[in-house]
Structure formats: structure tokens, C-alpha cells
């Protein structure tokens, strides 16, 4: 019995890793063989980023049961931290790969620290109130980053949050230029690094979910009072999940920021947070594989619909509503079940016929 239980989760996890690795290998070789269109090449890194974001948000929303509407805020912190670190290390760290890695780790750490600081007051709230506070946090972050200046001059590195432009001395070069964001960013992000990030995210989240911490987190979600009654420090576990999620989002953000030659704070707005949330809910709350697939499909979907021009986003909206109805509505599901039942019966009949 015990063996079987263990095998079940191990198997499920192995399936996720396998699928992701398979996807990577196929894409990697197709890319190297020049079989990918420019569009697809362009999707690779963002898909990895959004998978990581969706999986990390799933930890919070699906597994922990806390609705967060400010995930893009952590992504933004990671992005701008990563950009600054990468710019400062230019010429000091030779390997681009290493520089990217350091930038991502740095982005993750800062995002985690901020997540912790915000978590102290915020995690006292529950449900929709927590949701609105995370929304507020995302907006505050966006506002602050929008007035953030960072740059180097002959005297070294300067950084300021100010309404009037920060002045730099001789040889000054802005890395982040307030409302204008970061421009002239060296594109360091690579698909293999994206893959590593996804693997790392999966590794952390899956291991967390299938450990005593994960059990505690799920217990808190299922029944907070009962969890407290068996000695679980609910706030501490919500905090752990919150910080881990923030760290992963920060790392993904750093990769994202270093994938484009320019980025502004307004990218990390409410809409981006909501998009990630859509990935999570569409993939199924608490379903990690679901997050991976839905992030991929839903990222590519609106892009694949480019030929529809003006009707593209309205169709995306329709798809969104229909999928929600199909996956959740009891009535619609019933009807789908009837139809699929008929189909399967038809198939079975055919099988019998062919067999006979």
C-alpha cells in the first residue's frame, strides 16, 4: 500500500518532468535544425517564463488557496533587479550564461525579500481581502519602479526613486531611466536557461508539495482551523508559500526582462497578473501539469490568431469564457459527458465490428 502511494506521486511527477524535457528537446533540436519560424523562436523564452510564473502562482492559488492578484509585481521586481545586475556585471563576468544565472538568482532573492516583508502584514488577511491587498501591492510596485532610476558613472553605481530625474556624473549611463524603463538591455535570455528555470520551478514546487511542508500547506487550505488544532503554524506556512512563490516569480521576471532589449514598468500591471491567473485557473487549480500546458497553449493561442486581426482578442475572450463553461459548469459538463459517451460507444461498436 505504502509503496503504491509513493509510486503514484513519483509517477505523476515523473510524467511532468518527462513531458517538459521532451518538449524542450524537440524544440531545441527543431530550433537548431532551423525548422522553427521566427515567431516560434520568439515564443520559446516567454513560454518558459510564463510556465514558471503559472506554476509558482499555482502554489499560492491552487495549493495554498490564497488568491493573489499581484504576481506581476514580483515578476517586475525580478526583471528590473536582473537587468541592473546583468548590466553591472558586464565585463566583470565573462560568461553570459553565468551572468544571466546570477541576475536571475539576484532577481529571485530580492523578490523573495520583498515578498517576505510584504507578507508580514498582508498574510494576516484572508480571501478576497488578501486578493485586493496583493493587487494594491502590484500597483505600488509598478508606481515605484516607474520612478526608479539606476545608472553608473565614473563614481560607480547610483540608484534613486525620485520624481525628478536622477543626475549622473561624467561617463554616466542609465540602466533604468524612470518612466522610460530600461532601454538598450543586452539580451541574455536563452531557451536552455528558460528550460532550466522551468525545471527548477517544477523541482521546487513539486518537492514542496510532496513534503511535510506541502501537506501542511494543503491542510491549511482544506481546513485552517483543523490545521491549527494539530499544531500547524498557519501564518508561517502561508508565508513560506508566499515567499517561495515570490522568489520563483522574481527569477522568471529576470529572465523575462533580459529577453527584450527594452522594458517598462507598465508591463507589470494588473493585466499581466490576471493573465498568469488565467493560466493557473485554466490549467486547473493545484494541477501543476495543467499550469504547464495551459501557460503554453494560452500564450501561443492569441499569437496564433494574428491572422484574424481585429477579431483576435475578442475571440480569445470567447475561448476563455467557453473553456470555463466547459470545464466547470455542471450542466454543460453533463451534456458533454452525454455526447462523449455516445462517441465512445460508437467507437466501441466499431472496434467490435472490426474485431469481429
Amino acid at each position: 500500500m505504502k509503496k503504491l502511494l509513493k509510486n503514484k506521486t513519483v509517477l505523476a511527477n515523473a510524467r511532468i518532468y518527462l513531458l517538459v524535457t521532451l518538449g524542450f528537446v524537440v524544440m531545441f533540436f527543431m530550433n537548431n535544425a532551423g525548422m522553427l519560424s521566427s515567431s516560434w523562436k520568439g515564443y520559446l523564452v516567454p513560454i518558459c517564463v510564463y510556465i514558471s510564473l503559472a506554476v509558482s502562482l499555482n502554489l499560492l492559488v491552487g495549493i495554498c488557496g490564497e488568491l493573489s492578484l499581484g504576481h506581476a509585481g514580483f515578476m517586475g521586481i525580478g526583471a528590473f533587479t536582473g537587468i541592473v545586475i546583468a548590466a553591472l556585471l558586464k565585463g566583470k563576468v565573462e560568461s553570459d550564461f553565468l551572468r544571466l544565472l546570477i541576475a536571475m538568482v539576484g532577481g529571485g532573492i530580492l523578490s523573495g525579500i520583498l515578498g517576505f516583508l510584504i507578507g508580514i502584514p498582508v498574510l494576516r488577511l484572508r480571501g478576497d481581502y488578501l486578493a485586493i491587498v496583493t493587487l494594491a501591492f502590484g500597483e505600488i510596485m509598478k508606481n515605484i519602479i516607474g520612478n526608479l532610476y539606476a545608472g553608473t558613472d565614473n563614481n560607480g553605481f547610483h540608484m534613486a526613486v525620485t520624481t525628478t530625474k536622477m543626475a549622473l556624473g561624467d561617463g554616466g549611463k542609465y540602466i533604468i531611466n524612470g518612466p522610460m524603463g530600461a532601454t538598450g538591455v543586452q539580451k541574455l535570455a536563452t531557451f536552455p536557461m528558460g528550460f532550466l528555470l522551468v525545471l527548477f520551478t517544477l523541482f521546487v514546487v513539486l518537492n514542496l508539495v510532496n513534503s511535510k511542508e506541502g501537506r501542511a500547506i494543503k491542510a491549511v487550505r482544506d481546513n485552517r482551523i483543523a490545521a491549527e488544532s494539530v499544531g500547524i503554524n498557519v501564518t508561517a506556512f502561508r508565508m513560506k508559500a508566499f515567499v517561495v512563490s515570490a522568489v520563483l516569480a522574481g527569477m522568471a521576471g529576470a529572465l523575462f526582462g533580459l529577453n527584450y532589449s527594452s522594458i517598462t514598468a507598465s508591463k507589470f500591471n494588473f493585466n499581466t497578473s490576471i493573465n498568469i491567473l488565467v493560466f493557473v485557473v485554466m490549467g486547473g487549480m493545484g494541477n501543476i501539469l495543467g499550469s504547464v500546458i495551459s501557460a503554453t497553449v494560452l500564450y501561443v493561442l492569441p499569437e496564433a490568431m494574428r491572422s484574424l486581426e481585429d477579431y483576435r482578442l475578442i475571440l480569445y475572450a470567447v475561448v476563455l469564457i467557453l473553456v470555463m463553461l466547459f470545464t466547470w459548469s455542471p450542466k454543460v459538463k453533463e451534456k458533454v459527458a452525454i455526447v462523449s459517451d455516445k462517441f465512445s460507444r460508437m467507437f466501441k461498436k466499431k472496434e467490435v465490428e472490426t474485431n469481429g
Partner: protein, 293 residues
């Protein structure tokens, strides 16, 4: 004097937030869902009013009635098609559907009306009051918005406490299962709530665009989120709370712009929100519900 001017500006935009927040709070209180498409219903209302006055040349009052009718219908249709089938499912599922509806409305509006902003002609023809020799100006829009806001709040309070339907709403909001056992038609009650909420959205849309004349497909989105914040601020589910939250949010926003920094006003507004929620976790007038063990 400028203090008074800011205060009035703040109350003016706050009153608009308050009307939007009233719609949010009603729907939340009764259907227990965050209807993120509410802001876009506002936009539809404003477009409806705009079309009636600009293209048909009919008087403002007709345009309001048309806007209310259009939005009420829209609210019922949205609720019936997108939300009703999901009743009883996790609130997040409905939330995402609401976001889908929001995208849909925005993009539909762009297809129909184009992306170019339209300058909404104020429905208020009253001259602005100028006091203290030009030191203080109170526009007709401000007065009308405040009066309408108070009237709606009083009306809703009376409605929920005096009428049969209103009582049914309160019952559904307290305990849906029990209400059903008492013979209340829950589905119908929720539909009526959406209808009322959407009618309010139409009024809010017309007033919003009378105060801030730019009308485009994304007009409703940001005020919608602000109003949602206001509703939480005042205690979501509470009618006076929405009103108080909306007006306070407007005043805080204006004052932080006026006296602290226009650059950081978003950060300030949201920080105040967080602080208020930490002190009063259920909002200013919200009921703190102790979980039963």
C-alpha cells in the same frame, strides 16, 4: 481656498467611484463573486448614452434611460450566459469568466466604435457655481454626481430593507441555502441583483464621462478597479461602506496628488488601502465574521 477646491474635486471623482462601487458591492454581497466586468458595463453605458445624444440627437435624459435599459439588459444577459451556469463552482472560476467577459466587452466596443476616443458631452447643462470670486468652482457635474450618489445609496438601503425583493436579496447574501429552503428563488434574486448593479453601472458611466469626458473602449477598466478598491475599502458587501469607501478614495487620491506627489499618488492610495485593511481587516464598515468552530 485651494484646499476646498481639491476637496470638492475629490468628492466629485469619489462619488463616481462610489456609484460604481455600489454595483460591485451588491453583486459581491449577493452572488459572492468579483465581477471584474463591471467596469466594462460602465463603458457600454457611456457609449449607449453617447450614441443617443450624438447620433440621434435626443435629449440627455433619454440617453440616460436608454443607457440604463441597455446595461440592465446586458447585465441580465451576461449573468445568464456566463455566470449562471457556473453557480456553485469555486469563485475563482467565475472570476476568470468575468475577466473573459471584460475582454469581450472591451474588444467588442473597439470593433463597433473604433479605438479613437470620443469626447463625451456632459449631460449636465447646469452652469458651474463660482464662489469666493473665482477661488472656488463647483461644476454642475459635481453637484449632480453627489446628489445622484446619495439618492442611489438611500434608495438601495430602502430597497434592501423595505421591499420583498430586497429582503430576499439580504437573505440570499446571508445564507444562500437557508434562503432557498425558505422558498426564495435564489437564481432570480441573483439575476435581479445583476440587473440593478448593471443599471447603476449605466448611471455611473454617464456620470463618469460627464466628469471626465474621454470615452474609449478601455474607459471603464481603471475606474472599475479603483471602485473595486473603494468597495473593499469601505467593507465589501456593505452599501454605506461602498459610498464611504468611494468618496474617501476620491479624496485621498486628490489630496495625495495635491499635497504630496502626483507621481506617487497611485502608490500612496494603495498604501492607505493596505493600512486600513490591516487595522480593519473587513474594511471600514464591513462586518467581521468570526468563523464558527
Amino acid at each position: 481656498m485651494s484646499f476646498l477646491q481639491y476637496l470638492i474635486n475629490g468628492i466629485s471623482i469619489g462619488a463616481v467611484y462610489a456609484i460604481i462601487a455600489l454595483g460591485y458591492t451588491m453583486v459581491y454581497g449577493i452572488a459572492k463573486m468579483l465581477n471584474f466586468a463591471h467596469g466594462d458595463v460602465i463603458m457600454v453605458g457611456a457609449y449607449a448614452s453617447y450614441c443617443v445624444t450624438s447620433y440621434l440627437g435626443l435629449p440627455a435624459i433619454v440617453s440616460i434611460l436608454v443607457a440604463v435599459a441597455v446595461c440592465t439588459l446586458l447585465g441580465i444577459v451576461i449573468e445568464g450566459l456566463a455566470y449562471k451556469p457556473l453557480r456553485g463552482t469555486p469563485s475563482l472560476a467565475v472570476l476568470i469568466t468575468a475577466i473573459g467577459v471584460s475582454y469581450f466587452l472591451q474588444n467588442a466596443a473597439q470593433l463597433i466604435f473604433g479605438s479613437a476616443p470620443k469626447n463625451f458631452k456632459s449631460i449636465v447643462s447646469m452652469k458651474a457655481l463660482t464662489l469666493f470670486g473665482g477661488g472656488l468652482t463647483i461644476t454642475g457635474e459635481v453637484l449632480v454626481t453627489i446628489v445622484v450618489c446619495v439618492a442611489i445609496m438611500v434608495g438601495l438601503t430602502l430597497f434592501t430593507s423595505r421591499t420583498r425583493m430586497g429582503k430576499a436579496m439580504r437573505a440570499v447574501s446571508e445564507d444562500r441555502a437557508a434562503a432557498q429552503l425558505m422558498g426564495i428563488n435564489v437564481n432570480q434574486t441573483i439575476s435581479v441583483t445583476f440587473a440593478i448593479g448593471s443599471a447603476l453601472a449605466a448611471v455611473a458611466g454617464v456620470l463618469l464621462c460627464s466628469t471626465v469626458p474621454t470615452l474609449m473602449p478601455t474607459t471603464g477598466a481603471m475606474p472599475g478597479i479603483r471602485a473595486f478598491t473603494a468597495a473593499v475599502f469601505g467593507g465589501i458587501g456593505s452599501i454605506p461602506g461602498a459610498m464611504l469607501g468611494g468618496i474617501l478614495l476620491g479624496i485621498i487620491e486628490t489630496f495625495s496628488k495635491a499635497y504630496i506627489s502626483t507621481q506617487f499618488s497611485d502608490a500612496i492610495v494603495f498604501s492607505v488601502l493596505i493600512i486600513i485593511l490591516l487595522v480593519k481587516p473587513a474594511g471600514l464598515l464591513g462586518k467581521q465574521i468570526q468563523e464558527k468552530v
